[in-house]
């Protein structure tokens, strides 16, 4: 599997991949990964990560790192994605801090063994579920929210695991910043940052980790197949086409504000943003007009000048989005594309279902609007596609919201707003069909732990236990069956074992 030692020639050290501004990217080679994995495993087996004080110290270190280097993060994300300061601070840094603080205040509770309901035969024993760490885990980030997608799972992994983190190769400056900072703040043996390209990831996964956490919009199945070869459990948070239904009974101004914010922040590069709108025919014209006004309000007459508008991460994504844009529907707002700065301004398009833009995920500030005649058509349309990561619905009518929620399936659901459900630490965030597993808050901790069932019995009461031993007699069986029915009336399954 492993290639030979890296040659020193420049073409191998500096891949063809370049950043948005044309700078070359560094990378960590597979041999080095083997070594880092070995060190992490030794540290884990020595039991370093088990103490509560160690875990709390690491979590506090993450918080400190984000606070002390806020400017550096803002700068790095600015260079990678032209992310405005507000978005970096709120969606990347504050979100991770929130998770870390939530973990710090709840860690003791999460670490405690839970007693479970006992049945008749185990009423004198101890039945516990213990949360055990898995070992060494591998967390791969994505480029659309680079810090958030690397560090939020890390907060969960600090539930006594060691971790190797692989930030996305596309957001070079952020990756290098994390590579530089994490060794300063976190334990050097337990946590490592590697810079790996997406094509190397399956190779690295086959080195055998105890859990793999992968956030990227495609290629999920290659990683899953690589993990299957070593029976490694995976959590995959992928994207999807998130539908957004706008009813004719809703407050258009507020609706449009919320949708526009969700779609166009980070220049549309977000897995949770609404991918397309399904609106009632009556509302279409008003919606388009309202969106125009709203965008004017947010980004001014020329979004290129606005400091609040981001950029695409690199040329490849830019070209792909532009292709989809030009071959679909009709432009209603925006539509200008400037290659020099890899920037596509806000665009709205009137689209048909078969257009290219509806066939793939769009990672750019393009919002297609499709019209439907009623809720039934909308629900049928949504159910025809793959199950998305999120389903959004805007309406003042509660019945319509309930219908949309119960008759569709998605990773999560939010009514009258977008993206918010993923900011909540108490809700699990993950997909169904477009990914597997979930995280955020307690769910991150559970993803990276093994719930070990423990039953601690005594050696007394052998006089009751003997009923189960051979030679099997009908008399004994009747006694046990009777006891079962007795216990079924009050509790769960019982066997006088």
């Amino acid at each position: 599997i492993m290639s030979g030692p890296p040659s020193p020639s420049p073409t191998r050290w500096f891949k063809a991949l370049r950043t948005r501004l044309g700078e070359p990217c560094l990378k960590t080679y597979p041999l080095e990964c083997v070594d880092l994995l070995r060190r992490a495993r030794i540290a884990f087996q020595a039991g370093r990560t088990l103490k509560e004080s160690f875990r709390l110290a690491q979590l506090e270190a993450v918080v400190r790192m984000l606070e002390e280097h806020e400017c550096d993060f803002v700068d790095a994300l600015g260079r990678d994605l032209h992310k405005p300061r507000f978005e970096t601070v709120v969606f990347e840094l504050i979100m991770v801090k929130n998770e870390a603080l939530h973990a710090i205040s709840n860690l003791k509770k999460w670490m405690e063994p839970q007693s479970v309901e006992k049945n008749l035969s185990t009423s004198l024993d101890e039945c516990l579920v213990i949360n055990e760490p898995l070992g060494v885990v591998f967390i791969m980030g994505t480029w659309c929210s680079p810090v958030q997608m690397c560090l939020v799972p890390l907060v969960g992994a600090i539930a006594a695991n060691c971790a190797l983190i692989g930030p996305s190769e596309y957001t070079v400056h952020t990756a290098e910043l994390l590579h530089r900072l994490i060794p300063f703040y976190m334990d050097n043996e337990c946590f490592h940052v590697i810079l790996a390209g997406i094509s190397d990831l399956p190779e690295i996964v086959e080195l055998k980790f105890d859990h793999v956490f992968f956030t990227n919009r495609e290629d999920g199945s290659r990683i899953a197949v690589a993990a299957a070869r070593t029976l490694t459990p995976v959590t995959l948070i992928l994207g999807g086409k998130n539908p957004c239904y706008v009813d004719q009974h809703c407050d258009i101004t507020t609706t449009v504000q919320r949708i526009a914010w969700a779609r166009f922040h980070n220049a549309g590069q977000s897995i949770m943003a609404p991918s397309y709108i399904l609106c009632h025919t009556d509302v279409k014209a008003r919606l388009a007009q309202a969106l125009k006004c709203c965008l004017m309000q947010f980004y001014g007459p020329d979004p290129r000048e606005s400091r609040s508008f981001g950029r695409m991460v690199n040329l490849e994504i830019f070209n792909r989005t532009r292709e989809l844009l030009w071959r679909s529907g009709k432009v209603v707002v925006g539509g200008q594309v400037t290659e020099g700065e890899k920037y596509i301004p806000t665009v709205l398009v009137e689209v048909a279902e078969s257009d290219p833009i509806m066939q793939q995920e769009v990672f750019g500030p393009v919002l297609p609007i499709l019209t439907v005649n009623d809720v039934d058509e909308a629900i049928a349309f949504i159910n025809k596609q793959e199950k998305p990561l999120c389903v959004y619905a805007y309406s003042t009518n509660n019945k319509i919201i309930s219908r949309l929620m119960s008759e569709t399936s998605s990773g999560s659901f939010c009514s009258n707003d977008c993206i918010f459900q993923s900011l909540m630490v108490a809700l699990p965030f993950g997909g169904v069909a477009c990914g597997m597993g979930s995280f955020h808050g307690r769910y991150s901790f559970d993803t990276f732990s093994h719930r070990k069932a423990c039953l601690l019995r005594g050696t007394r009461f052998e006089c009751v236990t003997y009923l189960r031993y051979p030679p099997y007699e009908d008399r004994n069986l009747s006694l046990m069956t009777w006891a079962c029915t007795l216990s079924q009336k009050s509790q769960g399954w019982c066997q006088i074992m």
Partner: protein
Amino acid sequence: MSREQQAVARARKAFETGRSRPLEYRIIQLKNLQRLFIERQKEISDAVKKDLNKSEVGTQLYETLGLEGEISLAIRKLREWAAPRPVEKNLLTLSDTVYIQPEPLGVVLIIGAWNYPWAVTVQPLIGAIAAGNAAVVKPSEVCVHTAKVMEDLLPLYIDKELYPVVTGGVPETQELLRQRFDHIFYTGNSTVGKVIMEAAAKNLTPLTLELGGKSPCYIDKNCDISIACRRITWGKYTNCGQTCIAPDYILCDPSIQDRVIEEVKKSIKDFYTEKPKTCPDYGRIINQRHFKRIMALVGDSAVAAGGDGDESDCFIAPTVLRDVKPDAKVMQEEIFGPLLPILPVSGLDEAIKFINKREKPLVLYVFSADEKVINRMRDETSSGGFLANDCLVHFSVSSLPFGGVGNSGMGCYHGKFSFDQLSHLRGCLIKKLKMEGVNNMRYPPHTPKKLGCARFFILKTFDLGWVGRMLLLALMAVVAAFVLQVRETQAKSKKMLLFLFVCLFVSFHVFS
């Protein structure tokens, strides 16, 4: 279209009609399944006897009794499990409704095993039905008679479109794996487990794997050896050792090895008489391939008891091997047969090191009267489950998650865990289009003032419980002051104070 493709397509179509979603429907299906076990006990036991030579009592005890319990539990608790689960809100969502809604996944594939054919194939089915899914059941082809009985009986009791039974061997399983499922549930060995996981990975299908491994059993010097050995003997030789959670090998101090062997021999005689071959309660190996495999494992280890076998009957006597070395043949793979190797180790430390050098097992057993030994073993090793002073019974506690970790599997089930494993827990946030003023801080153009607001609202952790307690305290203090002012009498005011004190105490506990 092949037979498998048709079954899956029909199941999906049936699921999409939505008839498996209402709770009443699911409960009816579960009740029908319950009836199957009550009415057809004879046919089930006959088939199991032909496959594994299990007595009728044995079948009931180990297979169907447990299933009946799980079905009753599911019927009783379904409403509670399927209800929306509210979660704690933050400051920004105080006026919204936030909850987790369990939803069915769709079409689930359940691949069963042959050692406890009913228990291991139907228990995930119970979870699938309870969660509102459609399920394609593929019983193991190795237990021929039971597979036939399942294929005949299940469609008579439960919806045959939603829950088809597909029988067949490797090619049929491969054809099934080419179809698209929403979850795959496999019980079996790790080699096939990897193949199944790879097939599932291509479609990004989540899966639950219940695999096996070598489950160690440590006997401490300080314990009641005769009871320990009885329980181990029962755990090991039930179903002729063909149990995924059977104690695979024993680790004990050399000084007690002879005593252990003696006690195990005694228990074997008590359970299965002097001639296990003629005892109706002693099982058989499932087929000749496994018979040959297990007999070969004895290798050159010293036999302390048993050791004989009869290929024509697939009978292997209950066997104990002594002074086994770590590199012996019998220690290289999961035995899954009636051979019990004893490895001498010099103490708890060596035992823990030995266990940790190997793959994580499905279960770990410890026999000791000393709580410290048990706790050390539990904390310093990792395994799917952990059981002290007994064997197998953690399987019957439906509030404990049953599953493996590492090479012994992923995911867990039993009781509510089956329901959760086969459902999608969907996060739901229901907001209103009002209070837009608060939202303004997140819209561009971004200003430092808006950033300050955002910082406050998101980071400020608001412990509503604490606020509630403080408010109540304040209220109590006010009432106390008022009461004391109004009531002048000494004696009465003392009683009032006491009463208020008790109220405060109680409400503190209620709020914390």
